[in-house]
Amino acid sequence: MPEKKAEAEALLYIVGEDGITTDSLISVLEIEKDEILKILEELREEYLSEVHGIELTEYGGLWRFMTKKEVNETALKLLQLNQSTTLSQSALETLAIIAYKQPITRVEIEEIRGVGCEMMLRRLLTRNLIKEAGRADAPGRPILYEVTPEFMDTFSLVSLKELPELPTYQSEEEETLF
């Protein structure tokens, strides 16, 4: 019988980009939560060592093996990065608003951005970066939106708490700001 740690490592290898939740690991490995968390932490520590080019991440609640940032330059000699997959400025603004204000309606987003966002929301929905989260208790019962685990993965976030605090601007600071 291989060690649970070896089995966990193998499962993480199999799932690849899809990633796996802590709960799935618990049910497949038939293991206590404390134990799997200890194993995952150990694996993460081990892979952090400089002798490894791969690391274990937990973006958006999914455990995944991925290459380290440090090996970029070498990796990019092998691959050509498709820049078109990165999100545009307007997509980023819309996502930022949703991440900080969720659940939020389209109209509320548009009030902050000052432009129509219908097409943008549709695009973000297709890319699975946001999802519908019920309806607001307002006239017309507008759809509410919130970000998805896919969003968390796109920005290397384990939880929304990791987002930087919203800046506060005071008039004393105006010199440095404007």
Binding site: D18, K68, L95, Y169
Partner: protein, 245 residues
């Protein structure tokens, strides 16, 4: 109104608020003690300069412009005493909106950095469950090949079928008769008692156009209620509707 020779294209801005923040910064105005008249003049000049260059101005820019003009004219006119003071000061409101927008603009730059960092961390794709199924089938057969031979052969087929991936392009035009395709799909679906996955329908396609034609055809059948469908784990399943037949 004198405008610099070099005019930034309106397409470079994310919207009227983005434009206003740019003008405020450029003219070194104080955002917290905003000179609405000056901002309004700058804004109009900018819109005009862009119009002269033949650029389309989105409706959002014009509606904010109307608000600015109203604010400017209200400041020029003597205030009537009857007006209720409780009413929200539109200038204060605009300042708050600009500050709020600036916050998210700053955050979006941080997010941009995060996504760039993430985009150079690579993962491998899921090890396909199909491989498992192939091995099970091979176990029951009497063929004298190893499951791995079968797997290799299957993977070769899958790769050959991978028509959606960009390859060296050669142009060829082939037209499909929708009626032919429709008949083909109908026969295929009628033949099966259970539901059929969409992948089963298109897996024999040799080009993308045919796959798309089949998809359109299926959409029409769903619309005509000839076919019922369901979605499971991102896979479309189709069944010929007996109600119609």
């Amino acid at each position: 109104m004198a405008m610099e020779d070099f005019v930034i294209s309106i397409d470079r801005f994310e919207g009227p608020l983005d434009l206003m923040l740019h003008l405020i910064r450029e003219k070194k105005m104080d955002l917290f003690d905003l000179d609405v008249s000056l901002l309004c003049d700058q804004y109009i000049a900018f819109i005009h300069a862009n119009e002269e260059r033949g650029l389309t101005i989105a409706a959002e820019y014009l509606s904010e412009l109307a608000g600015l003009i109203e604010m400017k004219s209200n400041r020029l006119l003597p205030k009537r005493k009857t007006e209720e003071e409780i009413e929200e000061d539109p200038r204060e409101k605009l300042i708050q909106r600009l500050i709020e927008y600036q916050k998210f603009k700053d955050i979006s730059q941080i997010l941009d950095r995060y996504q760039k960092e993430r985009s150079v961390q690579f993962t491998k794709t899921l090890s396909y469950p199909e491989e498992v199924r192939i091995m099970e089938a091979a176990d029951n057969s009497e063929l004298k090949v190893s499951p791995y031979d079968l797997m290799k052969a299957m993977n070769r087929c899958l790769r050959r079928l991978n028509i959606s991936r960009f390859q060296k392009a050669t142009y060829s035009f082939k037209e499909y008769d929708m009626q032919d395709i429709s008949r083909e799909v109908e026969n295929f679906l009628k033949k099966e008692k259970e539901s059929v996955s969409f992948w089963d329908l298109i897996k024999n396609c040799t080009d993308l156009l045919k796959a798309i034609s089949i998809f359109l055809c299926v959409l029409e059948m769903i619309y005509k209620k000839q076919v019922v469908y369901t979605l499971q784990q991102e896979e479309i399943y189709l069944k010929w509707s007996e109600v119609y037949a």
